[in-house]
């Protein structure tokens, strides 16, 4: 069964179309990454799945059931804009959120999650006394207690240090292993590449990418060369047939123009400097993102031309 089925959904705010005729199917048990620039429609889509916003047109089904204004206890939602009742203590707050969603006492689960995320010592502390990272972990626990069938995380790793980010990541993957479906939005392309089974990109309210990382990369072909040279960036500048350079510091990604022969690029490069590595790779998600949403994006240009 599909966890979420979005069919021809449109949502507007005044004159702005936040989501335009979106259709998307999220298989049960998958980790689905939502990417896209700020204001592209990711959060609006998530809020519609959670039923906070209602679509103007189209329909959304969660585990086969039409969203109809009621609240589903099977969905755990971590919003991008984080806020908690600051005067409550951590244990009471988590029990409140858990009981609100699940309809039953969740004391044992809360205690277990606090231990798992190394927050047991904070159980009696007021939320206002916690650090930002601790607050985010508390909010994450509020999202997963009781254990949801569908977990929706809007930029869950933003602002977290690597240790806290790892703890959350492991917890998310553990929930997936236990059967939860996960939808997460992120601006970190490496998170999308490494964690997600499927990636969906929305840009200006329209779906522009949807599939596995491999199928998305296949759409963009083998037009990227990754090189490392002794001279670094200066050696690759102005190479014939190279359309765009993405400097990664120790290496560079070169995007070739259509019809360009990679052997010619290699010869030209060898003539300039000593080459330590040269490989033909699929474009990274970061590169694809920039191609779509960058200032000289193809989609953006097409839209502007059409306008």
């Amino acid at each position: 069964m599909d966890a979420v089925q979005i069919s021809n959904v449109t949502k507007t705010f005044g004159a702005v179309t936040a989501v335009n005729d979106l259709s998307l199917t999220i298989p049960e048990g998958s980790v689905y990454g939502f990417i896209g620039p700020n204001g592209s429609g990711k959060t609006t889509t998530m809020r519609m799945i959670v039923n906070i916003f209602y679509p103007d047109r189209g329909s959304i089904r969660v585990f086969g059931k039409e969203q109809s204004g009621s609240r589903a206890e099977s969905i755990g939602y971590l919003p991008e804009e984080r806020g908690l009742y600051r005067q409550m203590n951590v244990q009471q707050l988590l029990e409140f959120y858990g009981e609100l969603r699940g309809g039953k006492k969740v004391t044992a689960e809360v205690t277990e999650w606090l231990r798992k995320l190394d927050l047991a010592h904070c159980a009696k502390r007021k939320v206002e006394t916690l650090s930002k990272g601790m607050s985010q972990k508390v909010q994450f626990i509020a999202t997963v207690v009781p254990e949801p069938k569908l977990l929706i995380l809007d930029e869950p790793f933003t602002g977290l240090d690597p240790v806290s980010a790892d703890a959350i990541r492991n917890a998310v993957l553990d929930l997936r292993r236990r059967g939860s479906t996960v939808i997460l939005s992120t601006h970190d392309m490496s998170v999308a590449e490494n964690m997600c089974d499927y990636i969906f990109m929305i840009f200006k309210g329209n779906k522009v990418l949807d599939g596995t990382l491999a199928t998305i990369q296949d759409q963009y072909g083998n037009d990227t060369i990754r090189v490392s040279t002794e001279a670094g960036l200066s050696a690759v500048q102005g190479l014939p047939g190279v359309e765009r350079i993405n400097d990664l510091g120790q290496s560079q990604e070169l995007r070739m123009a259509q019809g360009c022969d990679p052997q010619q690029v290699l010869h030209a490069l060898v003539a300039r400097t000593s080459v330590t590595s040269f490989s033909l790779v699929k474009p990274s998600l970061h590169d694809i993102f920039v191609r779509i949403a960058g200032p000289t994006s193809e989609e953006g240009s097409e839209e502007e031309n059409a306008a």
């Binding site: 809020r47 959670v50 906070i52 204004g69 009621s70 609240r71 206890e73 969905i75 755990g76 939602y77 971590l78 919003p79 804009e81 984080r82 806020g83 908690l84 009742y85 600051r86 005067q87 409550m88 409140f96 959120y97 009981e99 609100l100 969603r101 309809g103 909010q139 509020a142 999202t143």
Partner: protein, 437 residues
């Protein structure tokens, strides 16, 4: 659904009543509302009980002794009334002979004595006062720098006119100077209407009205309800606006519908109001019993009081939640606050006309307009004449219907407004949200 509403209500209720601000407010609010009366009483005790010296400038040449005699008699009667301290003070009179020359010079000199505090005031009796022509407004003039509500003028009218009447009668050959009967004023007693008990058929006797029953009880009930409604409902706007700014609602909205959320919050407000009302009502009853004034307690009105209180708090806290959801900054909440307190403040602003004609058309209509019904109707019910039996029920139906309507509309406004940021919406836009959802 009910479980979620109760859970939200419980959290909000506990969070608010456990705050120091609530506990302090419980004690401070009656002091603030009653502070004016306390201040007046304090002033009367500390300042109002001093003797007040009044000069009589008698241009009739015959009236001053009679006036002073009448006024002294009245002052003596009042001063000997009751066993308590003399909080009125005495009026002490001084007969000032009329000087030759320009009258304005003597009045300037007397005015300066008032400014120095040597005199409290002076009264000028013109020659026409004995046989006044029509519209002779300035026949008797009181010169004073006391405040506009100083009772001296009203106090002096009686003794002065009594004295003048005695002189007129004497001039007609009737010896009225030493007779109390001739010009005696017979007081009029205010009585309640006689009524027949609908169920038993027994005719109920009229009761003698008094100040406590006629004015104090209705006013106390009105102010008590206003105070409790303010404690329960007024913080809602700022609290929702603050929670919105702290971004706590999005997670809640993922687990509960806007209607459940707003109903939970409204229920918490009602709980807060009932807590404070029980505190005040029990405290008030015990205090009055302690002062042997329990007879003035209108136990028959308490059920109405609580029903109206719950309805009013429901209406206003739902409205407060909706307006709070439309706020994006603390200043927005300040700008919208008058909308929330208007239904409570308007009856207080209109207190005098309402009290003068509690069964007039204006008071009746106002008491049947739902946002104003609880305060105005309870005041009218507490007046000695009462109200026709159907009116409280019609008012109650209107209030309950209005409470449901406002809560429903507030939930729609809340759902749209709660996640919006940036420029605050206009009133027209908020109303559109209520209609379209």
């Amino acid at each position: 659904m009910l479980h979620r509403i109760l859970l939200i209500a419980k959290r909000d209720y506990v969070a608010s009543v456990m705050r120091k601000a609530f506990l302090v407010g419980l004690v401070i609010a009656p002091l603030l509302f009653g502070g004016g009366l306390f201040g007046v009483a304090l002033l009367r005790v500390t300042d109002g009980n001093k003797d007040k010296r009044i000069a009589i400038l008698d241009r009739t040449g015959v009236a001053a002794p009679a006036i002073i005699k009448e006024a002294d008699a009245k002052s003596t009667v009042l001063a000997s009334f009751g066993d308590g301290p003399n909080i009125q003070g005495h009026y002490v009179f001084e007969n000032v002979p009329v000087e030759d020359g320009n009258p304005i010079d003597q009045k300037l000199a007397l005015s300066n004595r008032v400014r120095r505090g040597d005199l409290f005031a002076f009264v000028e009796i013109s020659p026409e006062a004995l046989h006044p022509a029509k519209n002779a407004e300035t026949s008797i003039a009181l010169y004073s720098n006391a405040g506009g509500i100083d009772p001296t003028q009203a106090w002096l009218v009686g003794p002065i006119n009594d004295a003048l009447r005695r002189i007129r009668l004497s001039q007609l050959g009737i010896d009225a100077m030493n007779s109390t009967d001739v010009i005696a004023t017979v007081p009029m007693t205010r009585m309640s209407l006689i009524s027949r008990n609908e169920s038993t058929g027994v005719i109920q006797e009229s009761r003698k009205g008094n100040l406590v029953e006629g004015i104090t009880v209705p006013f106390v009930l009105l102010f008590l309800m206003m105070m409790i409604v303010m404690i329960g409902a007024a913080p809602m706007l700022a609290a929702v606006a603050e929670d919105k700014m702290q971004r706590v609602f999005e997670m809640l909205l993922a687990s509960s519908t806007p209607f459940e959320l707003i109903m939970g919050k409204v229920l918490a407000s009602v709980g807060r109001s009932l807590t404070s009302s029980i505190f005040y009502v029990i405290g008030g009853v015990l205090a009055l019993e302690g002062m042997a004034l329990a007879g003035f307690i209108r136990f028959d009105l308490l059920p109405w009081f609580f029903v109206y209180l719950i309805a009013e708090v429901t209406m206003l806290s739902a409205l407060g939640a909706a307006l709070g959801a439309a706020c994006s900054a603390p200043r927005d909440a300040q700008q919208l606050a008058p909308m929330l307190i208007l239904p409570v403040m308007l009856p207080v602003f209109l207190l005098v006309p309402l009290a003068q004609q509690p069964n007039g058309a204006f008071a009746t209509v106002l008491s049947l307009i739902p946002p104003f019904t609880p305060l105005v109707m309870i005041m009218r019910q507490a007046m000695p004449g009462g109200v026709p039996a159907w009116q409280p029920w019609v008012g109650l139906i209107g209030v309950v219907a209005c409470a449901f309507l406002i809560t429903w509309a507030a939930a729609r406004i809340f759902r749209v407004g709660i996640l919006l940021q940036g420029k605050p919406p206009r009133i027209g836009e908020i109303l559109r949200w209520a209609v379209r959802g």
